[in-house]
């Protein structure tokens, strides 16, 4: 337990010292929110635009922080031999991993708070209708997207390419799922793709807890899809993730 907190402390330290990653993961969603919030009019589908966008960027934030950030961190640490070096110390691999996941959770929780504060400040956005549900959504989002992030890290073998690959996946996903604005005018093909993406369903849950005051299991289908994606990521991660760098 104390080793877990020890490792968590250093993971957080490393995260915030890495300015580029912190900007990409933490500042970028806030910036997008400020921009999009200023562009969109009053209402989106009868709901205040600032609230819809806040929920949307909350979802995008979960994906970049947990999936993008984690995949990039883990691939770089593995390929440069940072993970290998730790492997011959007494630190249990599980402890190392849990610390990395907790660190991601801490970062994203701070991100969510920053989003709410920014929304309040700039656009008088709503506060969560169900605070507990909102906190649950933070955990759910990190769990699902972190599992996908570790799964992606298991498949991506190049430290140079990981950041590009991750963005090529996350940005279109966020766009199709409605993170950056309404999608009901999109062509049917794109909507069909959106209908299988985890972020689409995660956003449904976020709208529920944040605006309607529902619990996170109010829409069981959405919850199941999100969990299924997370489970798929976890299976790939458990089967394929290794600690050693790519062989020469």
């Amino acid at each position: 337990m104390s080793t877990l907190l020890h490792q968590l402390r250093f993971d957080q330290k490393i995260f915030w010292r890495n300015r580029e990653a912190a900007v990409f993961v933490f500042v970028f969603p806030l910036l997008l929110y400020a921009l999009l919030g200023s562009v969109y009019g009053d209402l989106i589908d009868g709901v205040p635009a600032e609230d819809v966008l806040l929920a949307g960027l909350f979802g995008y934030g979960a994906a970049t922080t947990a999936m993008g950030g984690l995949a990039i961190t883990l691939v770089i640490r593995r390929e440069t031999g940072v993970l290998k070096r730790v492997r011959s110390t007494p630190l249990a691999p599980a402890t190392y991993f849990v610390a990395v996941l907790l660190s991601t959770l801490v970062t994203f929780a701070l991100e969510a708070v920053a989003l709410l504060a920014l929304g309040r400040l700039l656009f008088r956005a709503s506060m969560p209708a169900n605070w507990l549900g909102f906190a649950g959504a933070i955990v759910l989002g990190v769990a699902c997207f972190a599992a996908l992030g570790v799964g992606a890290a298991a498949l991506i073998r190049s430290a140079e390419g990981v950041s590009a690959v991750v963005n090529v996946v996350i940005l279109p996903m966020a766009f199709l799922s409605g993170s950056f604005g309404p999608t009901n005018e999109f062509p049917a093909v794109l909507q069909a793709i959106a209908n299988v993406l985890p972020l689409t369903y995660f956003l449904d849950i976020v709208y529920g807890v944040y605006l309607a005051g529902e619990s996170i299991y109010a829409d069981p289908t959405a919850l199941l899809v999100v969990l299924a994606w997370g489970a798929a990521g976890a299976v790939v991660a458990l089967r394929r993730f290794g600690w050693m760098p790519r062989e020469r």
């Binding site: 490792q7 250093f10 290998k84 011959s88 007494p90």
Partner: protein, 308 residues
Amino acid sequence: MDVPQVRHVATLLGHVAHIVSQVPSAIVVSELRKSYGTTEALRGVSFEIAEGEVFGVLGPNGAGKTTTVEILEGYRGRDGGDAWVLGFDPGESPRELRERIGVVLQQSELSPLLTVRETHEMFAGYYQRPRSVDDVIDLVGLAEKRNARVKTLSGGQKRRLDLGLALVGDPDLLFLDEPTTGFDPGARRAAWEMIRSLRSLGTTILLTTHYLDEAQQLADRVAVLRDGLIVRQGTPSELIGDSRLTEIRYRRDGVLAVLQTSDSTRALHELTSEALAEGRELDELEVRRPTLEDVYLELVGEEPESAQ
């Protein structure tokens, strides 16, 4: 857990092997084999390292040194043979074993954004009984860089950091894969002093190196690996003793003459009396015993023993 039993067996093995010296073995390796695809990196390597011993592994690039060391550290599986490290099977790499070993990898990176002190602190937190972080930093000569970020360190300073992290858990057994590569001569001497003092405290050390003087200075025994086989092992003086050739060099009429002989007293006597009789001076006269390096070059040039 059947660990005590396992340890008992290995200790027994050690006793059998060291029946003469009565010193238990820290490492027992027999007929170790490892292939990467079609490359046979190890083709039956056997050696033992007694507790408290400094054991040097020498050999040209690709000989299988890192492969051997990484199998013993628990990083790589073996395809055949037995290995015991402090009584444990390194293939299972149990926590009790990791608690007692220190590792300097041939190549590794650390988080570039932490400072030297923070990195030591982070690693110290992984062990039950770590050494004092500041002592270790002083010991490896990084006191002035204590608060410098890892990314700002020079190559040799990074290597010292690797060494510090290997020591921070206060290990009984140290694996050093080319630990002084990139060190300036002063730093190398300092590292040698440190390794000697660790040895005097009873730490067992498995060291690979391309510096033959390093092996000669530090190792109680060395093994020369070539193409996945040990071509010779013994104390440095045994290895040097194997080769009885002494070299006599001098300059005659500006031309350098090199004479190799197994009977140096007679050769030197004949040479000097001839020169005296002719009233000539033997310029730059030098009599040189072979160094470990000469023996090594002889060894890695010949066919491996078991392949003959």
